[in-house]
Assembly symmetry: D3
């Protein structure tokens, strides 16, 4: 039996990890790899700044090192993909970033992807990622809902803002598929898709889905 896939939430919020864990339910198959969701205790409560993104790379790497003997893949559950290449260079297992996987998955669901960010300050960082990925030709736009962490707990208000921003991406920027630019928003995916009438990608689910296939195929080792 294969060792588990580790989904590491690099912020220290257990509630976010719990949300991610719940979102994994449909991807847990009897004959498939176990999916274990962990919280990086050393991480900040939320990953907002560039400092946050950089600061979790090292503890993420150490955590992954410690788990490597009994892991079949790693998923970094933050849309900024902190430490993605650090983990890739030191582990023989496949490593997935939810930002990368969310965007790539969206390319199979629409022609131009729009992204809903939490805060404006993250958008330039995300733009650099899309440039580095070479997919700016498919990018429709990215807009932030502008809520802080406490406000995010208010379900109706958050969904309303996500819907509003999603409509602007669809109608003003021409997006025909939406990527949720944050981990752990899985609870909003279905109602948001319902409200917008276009596909909505939850990036952690997208990444774990790709990880499961990779683990089953056993392509690592080169």
């Amino acid at each position: 039996m294969k060792p588990p896939i580790y989904v590491i939430n690099p912020n220290s919020s257990e509630v976010v990890t719990a949300g991610i864990d719940a979102a994994m339910a449909p991807l847990r198959m009897v004959g498939g790899p176990e999916i274990r969701c962990l919280t990086l205790a050393e991480g900040p409560p939320g990953i907002v700044t560039h400092f946050d993104v950089q600061s979790v790379a090292q503890p993420l790497a150490l955590r992954a090192d410690a788990l490597a003997a009994e892991a079949s893949a790693f998923v970094i559950a933050c849309y900024s993909d902190p430490g993605l290449y650090v983990l890739r260079e030191r582990l023989k297992q496949p490593v997935f970033g939810i930002g990368e996987c969310g965007v790539l998955t969206s390319l199979t669901l629409g022609e131009r992807f729009g992204v809903i960010a939490i805060l404006d300050a993250s958008i330039p960082r995300h733009l650099r990622s899309y440039g580095a990925m070479g997919v700016m030709g498919r990018f429709a736009g990215e807009l932030a809902i502008g809520l802080n962490v406490q406000e995010l707990a208010q379900y109706d208000r958050t969904l309303a803002r996500m819907t509003e921003v999603g409509r602007r991406l669809r109608d003003e920027r021409g997006a025909d598929v939406i990527v949720m630019g944050c981990a752990g928003m899985a609870a909003y995916r279905a109602p948001l898709q319902q409200a917008l009438g276009i596909a909505v990608v939850e990036p952690t689910q997208a990444a774990v889905g790709m990880a499961i296939a990779r683990v089953q195929l056993g392509w690592e080792g080169c």
Copy 2:
């Protein structure tokens, strides 16, 4: 229990379908969706020309229509993604093309993807696809092995040619991940990766892997 994923080989070669079917083994999980591989009897023995690509779209659509009541997803097992958008517009289920999924998957395994084609004549068609996908900024090159269908049956010779072409893509064009530009070459993936020392993507496996996740997540319906 969810209905099966249908992997349709749009050429009429049962041996190709059998090869695809064998390659599905690691993706068949007890709790996951069933994977059924079919041959499009109406298809040509191999899909080589633009005429071949176009001519299978309609029978593929009809076949998918007939299966739709009991299907959870469709995978079109030809690297030229024939009929991909035709099926997408008429089915509520997710539809995957192995060309699209093979390339997108490669973007998580390397910085610049190279492609091994069967014949030179297909390369311009593939280039248009990469342009349409908006990923030319990640494209290293594509080279053909130049073997006809009968010659492809010669395992050692084919592997030698693939290895030679893969080395040129790696050394002369800077590819650090290889996509096999054809369905049903799964038997060559592991030895080719071993010979080249860089990851090799088998596109049908890549596509079915993405399909399994999509089926489990049930994102269809928008």
Copy 3:
């Protein structure tokens, strides 16, 4: 004397073919190639869906085959360029798609091209074509007038909608040249250009113009 250029309308609407034929008048020169406009009887009344686009490729190819002995060039008179590469691979004569030629011609008339589509559903398909053509860096935007075939017969209403959409492309998206994203709208070109104050390209005329030169030059044969 050279054989004629065949302009094939791949939908079965004779009225559309008649409109195309009328638009050819200025391109019919005494010493130039004859221009014959045909209707593809097997085609659907209008080419709207991806299925429509794919389904006409084969009858188009057969029709072109039948005409090949006495043709000097072919023009496919549908903005989605159905069957373009199918015809190119089987004919020694040059083959032109009005989508491709309309866009390329617009690049000599302005810096950023905007496109007026009939229906929203065609826009993603057109975007993939522009990506495949490698001209997305010159693309300003594409918007649909959203009229069905019957409504298109209402001249004033159609012109009003085209003018409205053209103004949005010019003012909101920065287009300084407009491509009409459909065959047989030649009757609207001059008044639309008059209303917008920027050049408007009628794609069938653009394509036939390029075809005449190619026939006169006799570059085919490689």
Copy 4:
């Protein structure tokens, strides 16, 4: 009857103009516009440097001004398109540059265009043009034959060099269509295409072909 199209050779070499004039023969149709080829007496013997390119813009503009009352279009017969936008801004007639038209025409004949330049020094200037045109995604490469003006008169040697450079563009850079990066090489087009087995575009013919259609259609005036 419409006034003539003026093809202005911006270098002062009458022999180049004579070659251009001869190449116009197939484009002279009884019912089509007259094509008059002129030499810009103020131009340098050949346009090699950036200084040359810039220095001819003003006399070109004055010459075009003087002809404007009796002209239906202008073609600037130098691959660097000197003065193209100067003429476009001051004339109501359409103005074509052979560099722009040569490249756009090549996009209908192959997937990746290669260019044969005369001298290495022109290549960076041409690259900027392709960038400005937004077509770098279709660009295979550009190589110079490295002959001076006197050597160009040696037919066999020049053809041999063009063939050699064309083969490198085809085999090493992946070009499947060649643009001749200079006016007045029409005499080499057919044998070069014969030798290379891929289409070769003579840019002045390409540009005049587009001009004829534009004149016939009478789109100017916006």
Copy 5:
């Protein structure tokens, strides 16, 4: 001691040169190169049309030739970079265009640059420059203030228009850094940045800053 950097204003307006000269104050360092600002007497009062841009290249080159014996670098103080490559090909000293340097400098200050132009007619020319520079992927938009030369003398009105246009670039187009698309607007830089809250680049200062470093480093000579 090194010879001076010459900043040449290619229009004939001494008041513009005086404004540029005043803006050089902070870049004049005791141990650094002298900065001399000159007016091109042969230039038009303002550089507006393509004709203007082309027409100053030759007198600029002659002026630079005359100064070359005692110059360490040249800066062409017009956002359209007239004659940039002409000067580069004939001088051993480094030559800078303020358009090029303004945009490159902006790329270190923000993720997407917006440009404030004087007149709409210049925008397509600028777009071609950004395309030639290969930086369209970082371009947010360009809008004109639409004031003529006389109106530009009205400080408050001009600042109000620049602020309004800058806000549109920031809010509607997503610019997070602004380039002033004209020489000699240095007086507006600080208040405009204050009003917009994002960095504003004055391109002549940007170019002279790069020139000083180049002169000190003495990289010329290859």
Copy 6:
């Protein structure tokens, strides 16, 4: 008098810092900002892996914080630009990365830049940076000299390898300007340029040159 510019070498090798310091000589002007070169004691001996790049971001940020009260700008002297955005988000002073500045500067010296890397493993990371910068359209290629740190101390051997790699970039990839992809190679710049005959950019000098101008202009504060 303005406070100094701090050039921080994020690896712990004092000899590298000494080389950088020596290279600053021409940029030290009497009336210009002081340039102080520091070694990040917490850094690894050399920055090779992704882990190295990430691990220095936090100590770099703390070091910059400590210096911020008396600094006018910061330059991060590692071609991978570690911590660039971390420092930018927390400091009011301008912050420069030598990778970014080296490439931007090269765009004023040639049409297509080639990069000489130390090790193959860094090249994919650099490619992502160029993609994020949006300048891949100007990129000719990057090749590594493949020497380890000890071997780099051998002057003649290193110069020979750099020359060999530079020639390949120039002749096989079409580079007409070279960027040295590492800090502290200033001693090789002049002889390498001499050997190659095309401009060579030393990135720390390029970055500090841009920093001096920014400090003098005082654009910070928005």
